[in-house]
């Protein structure tokens, strides 16, 4: 049995977070979410009916007792908009958890570090549990931790790219240095990518495109579940290391001990 993930005193049995975009229907999305055994589901606030949260079609499909809803601020372009969106989410959905996403550039949706840190600070002060999507920069992650974020969510590659972890050295540094859970948030395209992230010591992964865009999102949701479980177990079991090519010196350096 693997250790449970804890964020802001909340325990999660699953270390897989999933998104709700790009599915061909809400019903397939729901089945895929169930199959993935996730307990944390994020959805774009801009897609939800803020006036009629209960009647919203998307929300009605993720309204399960075991699912923790994590609204995100996708689409906002600066700290001001992000803070406003988070407050709207708290009011409309009754949760103070927010996945902070600030991406002013609409093509690659790269997170803006400066505005993200600014928004995170303000949201923490307003009592939010802030999980920020960020570029995989170890210092940005430390700043986010310093302003009170309860986790950091660095990207593995560009969102929706399915490239896997293209910045592995930075991800390793972030994991090494972080005092809060590290959730690898974007670019994971295959269960093996997620398994690798977990083997590196990531605390969790967030996956959307790789599941939603597969030919069988329900089966792929389950595949990611097993990859996460397996990667985490491997991390806890401590991977055997590659032999380092041990050589025998012709003039032993320690032979003096026998003198």
């Amino acid at each position: 049995m693997s250790e449970k993930l804890i964020i802001a005193d909340n325990e999660f049995s699953s270390r897989l977070f999933v998104g709700t975009g790009k599915y061909s229907s809400n019903s397939i999305m729901e089945k895929s979410i169930i199959a993935s055994k996730t307990e944390m589901v994020t959805m774009a606030l801009r897609r939800v009916d803020l006036n009629d949260g209960i009647g919203d079609d998307l929300l009605s499909h993720i309204n399960h007792d075991h699912l923790h809803l994590l609204p995100n601020t996708s689409g906002v372009r600066n700290a001001k908009e992000a803070v406003f969106a988070a407050c709207m989410a708290r009011e409309a959905l009754g949760t103070n958890w927010i996945k902070l996403e600030v991406h002013p550039e609409p093509r690659h949706l790269l997170p803006d570090a400066i505005e993200t840190i600014k928004a995170a600070k303000e949201l923490v002060e307003k009592g939010f549990v802030v999980l920020p999507y960020t570029i995989a920069d170890p210092l940005t992650c430390k700043h986010l931790e310093d302003v009170g974020c309860q986790a950091v969510m660095p990207l593995g590659a560009c969102i929706g790219s399915n490239e896997g972890i293209t910045n592995i050295e930075m991800i390793k540094l972030i994991i090494d240095q972080s005092n809060v859970p590290v959730v690898i948030d974007a670019g994971l395209g295959a269960p093996s990518h997620a398994a690798l992230a977990m083997e590196l010591g990531a605390d969790a992964c967030l996956v959307n495109t790789a599941i939603a865009n597969s030919s069988d999102p329900i089966k792929m949701g389950e595949a990611f579940h097993w990859a996460i479980v397996s990667g985490r177990m491997a991390w806890e079991a401590r991977l055997a290391q590659k032999p380092q090519g041990v050589t025998k010196a012709t003039s032993p350096l320690t032979s003096f001990l026998n003198q």
Partner: protein, 372 residues
Amino acid sequence: MKNQSFNDLLEPYDWDQVTQQIYDKGERDVIQALSKDRADLEDLKALVSPAATPYLEQMAQKSQTITQQRFGKTIRMYVPLYLSNYCSNGCVYCGFNAKNKIPRKKLTTEEVLAEANQIIKLGFKSILLVTGEDQRRCNTEYLKEIFTLLNPIFDTISIEVQPMDTEDYSILKELGLHAVYVYQETYHQKSYPDYHAFGRKRDFKYRLTTPERIAEAGVHKLGFGALLGLEEWRTEAFFIALHLSYMEKKHWQTQYSISFPRLRPHAGNFPPQFPINDTELLKLICAFRIFNPYVELTLSTRESAFYRDNLLSLGVTSMSAGSKTEPGGYVKENKELKQFEIEDARSVEEVVSAINERGYEVVWKDWDTILA
């Protein structure tokens, strides 16, 4: 480059030369364009060239893959609300041409509300306001009034009206303006006056630099394109792509949308000089998607139900449904007031079920003005 307007950038280009360059592209150029991860403007020329025709299937497959990766299996829905068909321009291809002897109407606030209520019943949460270009009747003051009226009803309000100054866009943005659509109609500067006999629209440069003014006002989303049928569509495609590249680099925070309207039958019937057939329009859409994975591509009810159903998985990401192209049309149809005849006359429900049948989900809401 940094402070150059698109008008300056366009200056050295020669229409006929670009057309020739496109027609000179060969099979090898097409294969190269299809093999690359990121297509550039030269690749776009190859993909719209006659040499690409035998590769249409490969183009469609690549376009589908790229679109699904970015947008998933979703289609964003929109609907136009025509506020007025008064127009002071003399565009030879448009039913609203000031010279056309058609009944004219501008909706009162009560009529706008009645239309809005009908549209909400159809399932829409966002609205595209359309007017003829009439500075006197449908100016910023009138639009301000309409915005105040509709802001509490719709999640986002977009407009397709006469080009305005940056200041006007800024005023409307404060009142909830989300997106602006403005079509250059043709990038062929020399022939542009032939299609625009009189009125403010005759000013090619003012219209051409409108997207820049919209972006400067901080408007979230911006749509543009050309009216297909006026001039050689392949060359139009190149200039739209050039314009898009320019805008994306200069105004990198703005979201872009490109539409491919084909000239439709209308009052004062003007036949397309350079018609684009179904195969060619598909080629154009796929070429554009391969050229730019991020841009929203729109296909309106100008196209037939059969054609739209088949194209919805091949690169398009946004569609209208149940559209009425005359002021007051949602409450009571009035053929005489129409801008043009639509081709896909199915109800919203029918369009949505056709989209679902193809394994796609409809997106009614993609932004909320309240968030900005």
